[in-house]
Structure formats: C-alpha cells, structure tokens
C-alpha cells in the first residue's frame, strides 16, 4: 500500500514536471491577453518553482498580472507596486524599467484604493521628458491628457482645461497616440460645447491618423459630416458622409445619411 502511494506521488510529480516544462512565457502572456489572469498567475507560480525566468522578468510579469488577479485586493495592488519598483530599481532606462515606472503611475491613478493623481501625473511627465520617443511614454502622454481634461474637473474649469492639453500636442510621436489625443479632445468639446471649427479639425486629424475601432470610425465619419454641414463646409461634409456610406453599408444610419447627401445635392447619395 505504502509503495503504491509513493508510486502515485512520483507519477504526479512527473506529470507536474512535464506540465511545467511545457509552460513558456508566451503561454502566460497569451492567457493574460485573453483576460485569463488567474490562470496566467498560476502558471507563473509553477514556472517560478523551477527558477526558469530571471528574477526581474518574473517580478515584471507578476506585477502586471497582480493588477487583475481575482479577487482584486489592495494587498495585491501594493505588492504589484513594490514589484514594479524593484524592476525599475535594477535599471530605470531600459524597456522594462520604463514600463514599470508607467505602471506605478497607473497604480497611483486608478488601481490603488486612494488615488494620487498628482504623483501619477508627475511620473507620466517625467517619462515624457526623459524618453519622449518611447511608446510607453506616448501612453503616458494620453494619461496626462485624460488627467488634465477630467481629473477632479469642476464646472468653471472646462475651457481652461482645454488650453492646458493643447500644448501637449507637440509630444505626439505615433499615429495611435494621435488618434487617441484628437478623439479625446473632440469628444470633450462635443460634450461640453466648443468651437465647431476646432472640433472638426480634431476629428479630421484623428481620421487621418487612422482609427482602428470600426465603431469609433463610423461615429467619427457621422460627426465630421454633421459638423461640416453645420459649418457650411459642403465638400468636407460630402467627403466624410461618402466614406461612411462606403464603409458602413449595414449601419442603421445609412439611409438617413443618403437622404442628407441628397438634400445637399451630392451624387454620392445614389
């Protein structure tokens, strides 16, 4: 009986071992990309026992996963912040170091129980200043825009906030950041009111940078067509309404846009 028990233990060990060696970093990232954070975290624990990943790499992966391991606890979030800090401590100016700093900012901004928006913004600005071309810094730029526009916003400050983000435009280095920047501002101005000409320019800039989300793209075309029409910019309106008609043939607004174009005397309505 004792021998059988030992045999089973060995068998389980072998099975566990073969499972662990089949685990790769790719599997962990793949699970995490599919929102399977707990599974990815469990896999990381298994791999850790074997010491297959360098400590810094392990800390980085665990820190990122802990932001979403369920149940989400303040303890996990603080441990994540500590792990990111360690990653940054080893080397602050390589890819992992820059990303770790960015995520510390994110923890301060949205993950921890008591957000610290001032410190979060300071981190993002440092990243933007020290590594302006790094893609992570570009994400930091968008976070600054978000914080400037909406962070503890009060009614009297709406237009002042807009002026603050205008100056950040010069830091944009890639199309994806350009789309987000211009969409955020145009959406803000449409919600709170603002110069239509400026709104249209932001929408055009977002569209030209290449909007990937088809839902956002459809809405952007409609907004451009409508605002341009209101401004009396017939050609611009026809251009973007026509793009909408071509790309979104099964949208419920298709017929209405056709009718608007017909009213404007456009041949695109046919």
């Amino acid at each position: 009986m004792k021998n059988l028990f030992l045999f089973l233990l060995v068998l389980m060990g072998l099975f566990q071992g073969s499972y662990a060696t089949s685990l790769t970093e790719e599997k962990i990232w793949n699970d995490a990309s599919l929102f399977l954070f707990n599974e990815a975290h469990e896999d990381l624990k298994t791999v850790r026992q074997q010491g297959r990943f360098p400590e810094r790499e392990e800390n980085y992966i665990e820190a990122l996963l802990l932001l979403n391991v369920q149940p989400k606890t303040e303890e996990n979030i603080q441990r994540s912040a500590e792990l990111f800090r360690r990653v940054e401590e080893v080397k602050g100016d390589d890819e992992r170091g820059i990303a770790a700093k960015y995520y510390r900012g994110r923890i301060m901004q949205i993950h921890q129980e008591r957000p610290d928006l001032v410190r979060a913004e300071k981190i993002y600005k440092e990243l933007l200043h020290d590594f302006p071309l790094n893609p992570i810094s570009q994400r930091a730029l968008i976070q600054v825009v978000l914080l400037r526009l909406y962070g503890n916003l009060e009614k009297g400050e709406i237009f002042h906030r807009l002026e603050e983000v205008e100056e950040l435009k010069g830091f944009i280095r890639n199309p994806s950041t350009a789309v987000c920047y211009h969409e955020l501002i145009s959406d803000y101005m449409i919600r709170f009111g603002g110069n239509k000409e400026v709104i249209l320019n932001h929408l055009i800039a977002a569209e030209q940078a290449g909007i990937h989300s088809f839902m956002n793209r459809a809405d952007t075309y409609v907004r451009m067509g409508m605002i341009a029409r209101e401004l009396g910019k017939r050609d611009v309106s026809i251009l973007y309404f026509s793009k909408f008609l071509k790309e979104f043939q099964r949208d419920a607004r298709h017929y209405q846009v056709q009718m608007i174009l017909r009213e404007m005397g456009s041949v695109a309505s046919k």
Partner: protein, 533 residues
Amino acid sequence: MKKDQIFAGIGFSLIGLCFILSLSRMFQRISEESDPKLTTIRFSHWQLESGIREGFDAVAQEYMRLHPNVRVIQEPVPEKIYTNWIITQLVGETAPDLVLLGGVTDERLARYFVPITPYVNQSNPYNQGTDLEKLPWRETYLDGMEGAYNPNLLEYYSAPFAMHVIRLFYNKELLKKISGRDDLPTDYDAFLQLCHQIQDYAQKSGEVVIPIAGSKYNSAIMVGRFFSTQTQRMVDRPSMGYLLRPDVEILTPRYWENEWSLNDPEIRSGLEMMHEIGLHMQPGFMQLQREDATFYFVQQRAVMIASGSWDRSSVRTETQGRFTVGVCALPSPSPASPRFGKYVLGPVSEASTKAFGGFGIPRSSKSFDVALDFERFLCSRIGNQIFVNRSGWLPAIAGVKIPEELKAFEPQLNGYPEGFALQWSPNVKRVVENELNQLYQVTGGVDRFISALKPKYAEALAEDSRNNIRGLLRNTFRMETAFGALLELQKQDPHDSHLENKIAEMNENMVMAESHWMRGQYDLRQAGYNTKP
C-alpha cells in the same frame, strides 16, 4: 408476498432498468466515439421553436453526406436550464463541441472558448464556386459579422447563422370578417382606426375578441417601437452629440441638465401612443407572460400579436388548420400624419439588424477542426440556405434566397434609426415598468404616468450611470494587463497584422472607456449624486 414488498420490488426493478439503460447508452456512446474511423461532434442549443431542430438536422445530414467519416449529433436543451447546464458542462470539460452562445459572460467566453478570429478573416471553403469564394468569411455576412464581434475581448467567438426582425402576426380570416380587409394598414393612424373597429365589433357582436394580444414581453416589443418614432428628431439635436443615434452616455447627463424632460412634447407624444395602443390589449396584460399572449392569439381571441421572426414557425404550427396567419411590419406614423408625424423622420430602418446565434467551440473540444468545419458549412451560402429553407428563419449570409413565405420578414433597409426609448437600462426600466399601469389604465394617462415617474426617474438614471461607470472602470483595469500582454506577444511576432490591429484597437477602446468613466463621474457629481453606490 406482501403488497409493500411487491411495490418495493417494482420500484427497485424500475431503478435497475433505468440504470441498465443509462449504462448501455453510455457504453454505446463510448463505443461509437472510440471508432477510430468516425469523428463524432455534438452541438447544443436551446432553440426548441418548431422547425429549428429540423433545420439543424437538415444541415447536419448534408454535412454527413459530404463527410461520411463524421457524425453530427444535435443536443437541444430547454432554455430555462440551458445556461446552468452549459456552465456545468464547461467546468466539467464535458461540453459539446459546439455550444450556442447566449448569456455567456466575457470572462467565461475568454476562459472556456477558442477565439475564431483568424478563421473569420480567411475565406470559407464551402463558398467555393460562388461570388463569395474569395471574400473573408466575415464579409460574407449580411451584417459584416458585426453581431458576433466582442468589443471587450476584441475577438470573434462564434459564427451566427440567422437574423431576426420584429413583426405583427395577424389572423387573416378574423381580420377579413371584422374589417373586410386582407392586410394590415402600414400607417399608424389607420392602424389605430382598425383597432377601434375591432373593439366596436366585439361590443356589438358580443364575441370575445380584442385587437392585440398583449403581455409584458409582447407589448414592450410593440409600444417601445411606437414610442421611439417620436424621439427620432430629438436624437438629431446638436446637444445629442452629432451621432444620428441615441447614446446613453449623452442622454443621461442631458436629462439632468434639463436639455430634455419627461414633459417634452416628443416624450408626451410617444407616451400618448403607448396609452392608445395599451387600451387595445387585454386588461392587465402587463401581468401576463409571453405564453398567455400566444394563447390568446391561437385561441382566436385576438386579431394580432407582435413578436419576433423567431416565433414564426411556432405560430404557424400552433395555428395550422385553424386559421391563416398574415405577417407585416409594425405600422408607423408618417411625417405627414397630423397627430404623430411632427416628430418623425420616417420609417424605422432594420439595416443594423445583427446576425443572431452562433456556436462557440469550447477549449475542451477534442475535435476543434471538425467542429469549425461544420460551423463553416452551416454559415456558408449553401449550408445557410438549407437551414433557412427548413427552419423558416432569416439567413445571415449574403445571397441566400429568402423563401416566398419569409418575404414579409425581409429587413426594411430604407429607413431612419430609431429614437430612444424611456427605459434603456435596468433600474430605469424597473421604475418605468412599475408605473406603466398608470399609463395603460382606462382612467390613467400620460399626465398621471409622468407625475408618478418623474420623482424616481433621475435617481434611477443615476443608479444605472453608477453601474455603467463601474463597468467601464472594470474594463479599463482588465484591458490594462491584457494590453501589456499583447505588447509582449507582439515582440515575439512583430509582423502579425492581426495582433497589430488588435493592439491599436484595444488602445483606442481603453482610452475611450477610461475617458467615459471619468466623464461619468463628473456628470454624476454635477447632478448632485454620489459616484459610488
């Protein structure tokens, strides 16, 4: 032998018999599935409406004819237990190879199902020889497969196979007898006139017949559409965001800012229509269930019933031999209508009708390739045609011929988007439904309804807004890690264009979700509400 012992003996024998039967079924299944020459795939669904199982069967038969080494087994499960059943099967890794998706959360989708995005971007081999053969599978869909896309997970998990629209079903003989008409009017005012005519007939003849069979379910389908014709023009106001469609995240703060109110003429007009229509349903219809309304209609105690095309086969089966069922689109007021035309843009478009259904393939499936292949067949032009012909449901695939008897269900493409309804989210829906009796009572009406609803409406909007922003924050959290993981995967394969697009799209979605979360907090604060529950 005593009587008790005999009964006990019979009882044990029955249990034993059942056990043996189950055992033999199990062994039969195991032996069939262990046949190395035969691959068995199973698909489960809850579509027990008449004709649907036959439709699936016909597709499966044709597939098996094309692939003699494959056996396709259908497992219909009643709707009431489907979700629980499927969760148990998924957790136990015993789920069928294809699972009709419905009520599956994003978390479960990600955990238990394989994304089929790479395949929907390839052509469907079963479309060979047709004009669809070179198109990616998703572009062979009438809705461009938009209905199957999960915007949170940024993946496709299933391929839909049908489409549904809302229609009015009517008893042709009864309509003719009462009104002399063969079909229903398409204009709202003429429709209302017809309802009056039916009520007059019932009063004079003493026959128990009402114009419309109502229930909580069926009435909502109908009156919701009537109401939203009146808010079509409101959506086009510049303050509504220049979207030409209602957006809850704009409508809600605009209500708190008094940009619109329950007393606006458009809203009152929509409520007036609801009140009028409600008076032509059976008393107390809001307390009745869907089955009760169908029963009224089948028993020829109602001339009309509103429902979806999914009920077509069942209605036809239940009324066969009793009366002929006619089908038509819901009437709507034309812009020229003196009473309700003022706020209308035109007929409501069904262009955005999304394809319905779609089987997900669980990660536990041992026959992923065959399951995917069967799904490709079902959602090819030829497979979908077989399904449509037998099921009586509308096709999801472009170029599938709609049988003559389904012509009335063909989506109306030339029309305008619906306006907004009063109840677009759970708490708002609850407070509106709680007060609807004030609107539908003979002694009630629009004023009484608004007076009862108004004190609760803004608070209910706040409650739903809080839930909405909580969801946005949760999504932002989740996308944070997922996005980081995608960037790591991209390092391993920098030329993967699918990954590149997914990263760009997730970045946009993440930023917009976060901005809407922050703006939602501002809106709640400005309206004087807490941002947390």
